[in-house]
Every structure is written in C-alpha cells, then in structure tokens.
C-alpha cells in the first residue's frame, strides 16, 4: 500500500511540478518563458564551478579506494564492528558508503551474489545503503557550487550522521531479521 503510493508519487511528481510551477506563475502574472530562461542561464556556470571541487574529492577518494587501503581499514575496524553485531562481510560496504555511491552499490551487489539478497548480510547491506548518503560527494558538489572552501563542522556532522545511520541499520537488522 505504502510502496504503491510512493511509486505513484515518483511517477507523477516531476510532470506535475513542471506543470504546476509555470501555471501558478502564469496566474500570478509572471512572464513564465522569460523567467525560466533567465534562471536557466545559470545552469552551465553552476555545473562548471563544481568541477575543481569534484576533481579534488574524487581523485583523492579514487586513490584511496584503488590502493587497497580499504582492506587495511577493514582489518583495523573489524574487531569493534564484530563486537556490535556487524558481520565482517558488510564492513567494507559500510566504510565505502560515505566515499562512493557506485562503489558501495557494487559491494552490495557482490554480497547479494555471494550470500543472497534475503540473507542477514544482504538485508543489512540493503538497509545501510538505503539509509545513508555519499557524504563526500554531496559536500564537494554543494559547497563547490558556491565556492565555499572552509567547511567548518559540516564534515564531522555528516560523518557522525553516517555512523549513527549505519549503527541503527545493524541494530534494526539484527532485531528484525536474526
């Protein structure tokens, strides 16, 4: 029921928004075409502004990922995560999640293939993946678009949120499916 409702929303939301915003503007006497093009002309500049920030972030993360440093990190962190009920198999995905959305989904799919999507490991990976975001990508894109370099407490707050999301995922999965 809930899933059906959400499916309907995701199909109709965008067309309805694209219809409603100009229509509402028209009734409010906005010159809709002129206003649209006026706003849209910023699109290119905004996207290009992000490039240096995203290059910096993705190159650093890429080097880290492909070097094998992830395996070292897994070895260091696994005693702690084992103790709280996170299977060692899921840990690489948990650590990958804030760094790379594609990387995390890749690991998740490997876990599905090896252990099955309906195994405890598969379910935990699913819940972890769905409940957190690619923190460093969001950071580079959002701050990059406006040229903010000094990010203050945004990174620690984002990482704390990721950690809480991952731990909750472990706890909830073990509670519901074990």
């Amino acid at each position: 029921m809930f899933v059906k409702f959400m499916e309907v929303i995701s199909i109709y939301a965008i067309p309805l928004i694209i219809l409603f915003i100009p229509l509402y503007g028209f009734f409010k006497k906005v010159k809709v075409y002129e206003a649209f093009t006026d706003g849209a002309k910023e699109g290119f500049k905004t996207a290009v502004t992000i490039i240096p920030y995203l290059v910096a972030m993705l190159v650093a993360i890429g080097i880290f990922r492909k070097s094998g440093a992830m395996d070292v990190l897994v070895t260091i962190v696994s005693p702690i995560t084992n103790a709280i009920g996170m299977p060692a198999e899921v840990l690489p995905m948990a650590l990958m999640r804030p760094l790379s959305g594609g990387g995390a989904s890749g690991i998740m799919n490997d876990l599905f293939t090896t252990y099955g999507a309906d195994s405890l490991i598969g379910r935990m990976a699913s819940i972890m993946n769905g409940s957190t975001e690619t923190t460093f990508y969001v950071l580079a894109v959002y701050f990059g678009a406006v040229g903010v370099k000094k990010t203050r407490h945004a990174v620690p707050a984002g990482l704390i949120a990721d950690a809480v999301g991952l731990l909750t995922a472990v706890f909830v999965t073990n509670l519901m499916f074990k």
Partner: protein, 202 residues
C-alpha cells in the same frame, strides 16, 4: 578538517599502494577519477538549467516564499540565521521534499539552488555558515522514504521480497537525520569550528 581528510586519503592511499606494490592502480585511479569528476559535473548542466529555470518562475510567483512559510516553525528552528521570507527557505523545503520522495534528479539541483541562496546571506564567501552546515548535514544523512535504487538492486538479485527493507531503512535514516541535526547544532558551538577562528590549516 577537510584539508586533513583530503590529504589523508592521498597519503594513506599512496603509502599502502607502495607497500603492497599496487602503485600502478593509483596512477590509473587518479586519471580515471579526474575524468569521472568532469563527466559528473558537466552531466549536471541540463537538469541544473531546468530546475534553476523552474525555480526562477516559482520565486517570481511567490511560491518559494509560500513554501518557506508553510514549514515556518521547523525551518526557523533549523536555520535561525535565515530571514523567514528569504528564498533560501523555500529552496531548502523543496530540496528536502525531493529527497524524501526519492526524486534524485530534482534534489541535487534544488539543493545547489538553496546553497546559492544561503551564500547570498554569507558575508565571508569562502567559509560555510551555520545554516549551510545544517543544510548539508541533513542532505548527507539521506532523508528518503523509499530507497528505490536498493529495492531495484534487490529485485534484480532475485529477492523474494525486495521491499521488505523499506521499513527498517526509514528507521535508520530518521535516526541518522536526527543525529545530523543534533551533531551540527552542538558542533557549531565549539570554538574549533567558530566561523571567525577556523585556521586555514584545519
């Protein structure tokens, strides 16, 4: 902080690669990811233009302001530095709504638009404001009701019930969003993250 983390990725990556004899992978990764970054950025041009255009209409018609007002109490608590009538409020409401309903293609451009509005209120253009950090933390904690891509991956992997993870995922994502808000509100009080005192080396 960001400087240390960034340097950490590179230094740890290259040291580990040297030890394990994996150094060619580092070279490949550096060039590959530089390309990916440009592709991702340029790939945003179209959707960015679309949403910035729509947002301009929504702004001129007064819709953005009305949206900001609709959630006044919550928004005022989260972003006390932003004036109630400022277009940043409406843009942030739209971004969070797009995230909740899983409209990924809309969420990022709307979030960037909100950031641009918040930057208007910033008197130190290279430094994040409290509101920017709060907004970013909410976004990185992923406020989504249906993790549609995960459900799709599960279905493709032959799960008997791909959607069974939706309930627990909502619990985890709500917990992480609450943690994000609490963390950001506590951390912004720490002297180390003070807007005027952050050292350039951190």
């Amino acid at each position: 902080m960001i400087n240390l983390i960034w340097l950490g990725f590179i230094v740890i990556g290259i040291v580990v690669a040297l030890v394990t004899g994996n150094i060619q992978a580092v070279t490949d990764a550096a060039f590959e990811y530089a390309d990916v970054a440009v592709e991702l950025s340029i790939g945003l041009v179209g959707v960015m233009a679309l949403w910035l255009g729509l947002m301009k209409i929504a702004e001129e018609s007064g819709m953005v302001k009305a949206l900001g007002n609709a959630l006044r109490p919550v928004m005022k608590y989260l972003f006390p530095e932003v004036p109630q009538d400022h277009p940043a409020m409406g843009a942030m409401v739209m971004n969070i709504a797009a995230n909740i309903f899983g409209l990924g293609n809309a969420a990022t451009p709307l979030g960037i638009k909100a950031m641009k509005e918040l930057q208007e209120l910033n008197d130190e253009k290279d430094t994040a404001t409290n509101s920017m950090c709060t907004f970013l933390a909410i976004n990185t904690s992923s406020v989504t009701l249906i993790a549609s891509s995960v459900v799709a991956y599960r279905a493709a992997a032959g799960s008997a019930n791909p959607a069974e993870i939706i309930g627990p995922t909502i619990i985890a994502t709500v917990a992480s969003t609450i943690a994000a808000i609490v963390a950001v509100k506590l951390l912004q009080k720490l002297p180390a993250f003070n807007k005027n005192k952050e050292k350039s080396t951190l």
